[in-house]
């Protein structure tokens, strides 16, 4: 392996292009995808790599997202490395197969460019699409910027294919904010990426001929995948998936650290910022947390003891890491870019409230639903949120548990 950080080239890439470039370097066996705004550029760029003979990948331009993921399931079961990308309605159309891919323990990697769900039809960012898929059994890694989208797309294969994990991975990036915005992205040399991801490995299972065989469709070692499981068996497989998710936490961290060794950029389950002595903290996902860092810096200059945590891994949910990092915080402001209609708050809020239930000292937690359908979340609004959290901390209670930020009243 690498002994040190590899020499890296700086490229001007949009988030979509950064993902496509990472996939090109990984050179998976198959990419099956269908275009949808704002993911389209990923498919377009990758088609160019295929057309120019820069990859060995079999590109399958399917007739729907449902078939995109179905094709990946077949390919991954046949032993291939498979990749797809989608957004919003496309992810919704894949829904049925999301669960199947995860339950069949197929290490597929998918980029999801976050976009609001219809209706009304909207092409801009929020997290409704992937949040709806949070219980599908996929690992979900949310990226803050295009650099991270590049870096995470490479790491995703190592996580998905790890013998203790064997689960599909979603790499998410915010629609337009990241997907269509040019950034300077430091890219690794091809051979370094190739060595980092290595070859796909197969775990071994006991098949119906009572032999231990690789978990892959291989005529020499026939295996039945996708069988009919009644109440006698179904439950046990679900418990196994839960266990794999639990083990994925360590793997995500290990892979993120190892990647740091070759790139100088280390990744974990959560990314805290100026949290050490913080009384109040913001917590959220995706590109908004980049803006939130500026807000933290500004308010720190005013003397507010504030920090933040960006959650990178929403699934598996980094329970222990969050408890440890937030134990000293008085009040938390949760930034939810998705709604769970009829529930008490957004998806992240529910996780955070539940997280602290067993703790002796519980921080005050309030929810700020923002940015739906691409609604802007400027510094000013984030400052308002931070000050609201501070007020909760000062008065020792949450005045209003769930607020809508940037909404016209």
């Amino acid at each position: 392996m690498e002994l040190g950080v590899a020499k890296q080239e700086v490229m001007g890439l949009t988030g979509d292009e950064a993902v496509a470039y990472a996939v090109k370097q990984v050179d998976p066996d198959i990419v099956a995808a269908y275009p949808i705004t704002p993911q389209t550029i990923i498919v377009e760029r990758f088609s160019e790599y295929v057309a120019d003979g820069l990859v060995n990948t079999e590109f399958v331009p399917v007739e729907s997202e449902h078939s995109a993921l179905s094709t990946c399931v077949g390919a991954a079961a046949a032993g291939a490395r498979a990749f797809t990308a989608t957004a919003s309605q496309g992810l919704a159309l894949m829904w049925e197969i999301l669960y199947i891919a995860a339950s069949m323990r197929l290490p597929i990697v998918m980029a999801v460019v976050n976009r609001a769900l219809s209706a009304p039809i909207n092409i801009h960012c929020d997290h409704s699409d992937t949040m709806g898929a949070r219980d599908s059994g996929w690992i979900q890694l949310y990226c803050e910027n295009s650099q991270e989208a590049y870096d995470t797309t490479i790491q995703a294969w190592r996580i998905a294919e790890h013998p203790d994990v064997q689960l599909p991975v979603m790499v998410t990036l915010d629609g337009f904010v990241l997907s269509h915005t040019l950034e300077s992205v430091r890219v690794l040399p091809d051979d370094v990426v190739k060595r980092f991801v290595g070859q796909r490995r197969y775990i071994r299972v006991v098949g119906h001929e009572y032999k231990e065989v690789p978990l892959v469709l291989d005529p020499e070692n026939p295996l039945t995948l996708g069988a009919f499981g009644m109440y006698t068996h179904y439950f046990e497989y679900k418990r196994q998936q839960a266990e794999a998710m639990e083990k994925a936490k360590r793997v995500i961290e290990e892979v993120g650290r190892e990647y740091g060794g070759i790139s100088g950029r280390t990744y974990g389950l959560i990314h805290p910022y100026r949290l050490e002595d913080a009384e109040v903290a913001l917590i959220g996902l995706g590109s908004t947390m980049g803006t939130a860092k500026i807000v933290v810096d500004r308010l720190r200059q005013e003397g507010m003891k504030i920090g933040l945590i960006r959650i990178r891994s929403f699934r598996p949910f980094p329970r222990e890491e969050l408890l440890k990092s937030l134990s000293h915080v008085k009040a938390i402001g949760v930034l939810d870019r998705a709604m769970s209609f009829g529930a008490y708050g957004g998806p992240l809020f529910m996780e955070m409230r539940s997280l602290f239930y067993d703790e002796e000292s519980r921080p005050l937690i309030s929810d700020y639903i923002y940015g739906l359908g691409g609604r802007d979340m400027p510094i000013k609004l984030l400052e308002d949120v931070a000050r609201d959290v501070k007020r909760n901390a000062d008065r020792g209670r949450v005045a209003e548990p769930i607020r809508y930020v940037g909404l016209r009243e």
């Binding site: 066996d29 079999e58 179905s70 991954a76 049925e96 020499e220 295996l223 068996h233």
Partner: protein
């Protein structure tokens, strides 16, 4: 196509790749069809199956009846799943990671998974030209969920969602001409087959596997439960379907920009000697799903319409195949 000589005796000695102990109904012809299809394999083979009777009843955990690598993904996507396997093997072969010179891929779909919910994915693989064989085992309704009508259910047939009522006498629509639709996609090889003619069916499977590009085999698969006939009658009905020209046997491929249709054995014989063609009533009468056409009184008008429909389709096929 260089053809290996296939004989029933030799094939009988070949071990079953769909093993006994599966849980398909007694007298299930779909099971016979699947066994025959698997008899025709010629080397390393991977099978994908759409949700349906064949899928559920052959793989009830912890058991499996399949002796080849087998995958079930969902209902509407067996074509896409199979295309993923095909593409994967192609890519793996290109980078020297495949230990086989070639692997045949067979996708099984029922009528629901093919005519209806799986139609889009099927059309997709045909357009993209994946090299695999799609076998439609057509029992003409959603049997796995308890006999609901599909795009493959014939005119006037009773199902639980096209009941024979006081006003509407069974399914008001005609059967979708699925195999012709596939031909028009410029598929490499398309054929119809009946399990009443095992050697014909097996040879067509083999040709489908040998064809380069997407091949499609439409097999009629009488269902004892759904068609309402005694368990011993399935093969007989599969034969009557051919003898009445309701389900004629043919093959089609493309040459110089034109479709070439060729009638197979029994159907070709009828084309040459039209007096051999049996009236459709012989096929309808033994089936409970058509009982309302005969009881409490004969529905002459409907019977006439059904016969006319068959005659019309048959003459269309005769033209395509160069007869008439």
């Amino acid at each position: 196509m260089g053809e290996e000589k296939l004989t029933l005796k030799d094939l009988a000695a070949k071990p079953d790749l769909l093993a006994p102990g599966h849980r398909m109904c007694a007298g299930c012809v779909s099971a016979s069809v699947a066994r025959m299809v698997m008899k025709a394999t010629r080397g390393p083979t991977i099978v994908a199956t759409a949700t349906g009777c064949l899928e559920v009843a052959t793989t009830i955990l912890p058991y499996t009846a399949w002796r080849v690598p087998w995958i079930h993904n969902a209902f509407e996507n067996v074509a896409a799943t199979a295309s993923g396997i095909e593409s994967a093997l192609k890519a793996m072969k290109r980078r020297g990671a495949l230990k086989y010179e070639h692997v045949d891929i067979i996708a099984f779909g029922g009528d629901g998974g093919t005519y209806d919910i799986g139609f889009q994915a099927l059309s997709g693989i045909l357009e993209r030209g994946h090299d695999l064989l799609y076998v439609l085992y057509d029992n003409e309704a959603y049997m796995n969920t308890g006999i609901q009508r599909s795009g493959g259910t014939p005119y006037c047939a009773w199902t639980t969602t096209s009941p024979a009522g006081k006003v509407i006498p069974g399914k008001p629509q005609w059967k979708k001409p699925i195999a012709h639709i596939v031909v028009e996609h410029r598929a490499a090889y398309v054929a119809t087959a009946s399990p009443a003619y095992p050697l014909d069916l097996i040879k067509k499977v083999r040709r489908g596997l040998e064809a380069e590009g997407p091949a499609f085999l439409h097999v009629i698969a009488p269902c004892t439960r759904g068609w309402r006939f005694p368990t011993n009658m399935g093969i007989k009905l599969a034969r009557l379907a051919v003898q009445t020209c309701l389900f004629p046997l043919w093959e089609a491929w493309w040459e110089d920009g034109h479709p070439v249709y060729k009638l197979s054995g029994p159907s070709e014989a009828i084309a040459r000697r039209p007096e051999m063609k049996k009236p459709v009533e012989e096929y309808l009468k033994p089936q409970g799903r058509f009982a309302h056409l005969f009881k409490p009184e004969r529905k002459e008008e409907l019977l006439r319409r059904i016969q006319e429909g068959i005659d019309r389709e048959w003459s269309l096929l005769l033209k395509r195949a160069g007869f008439a």
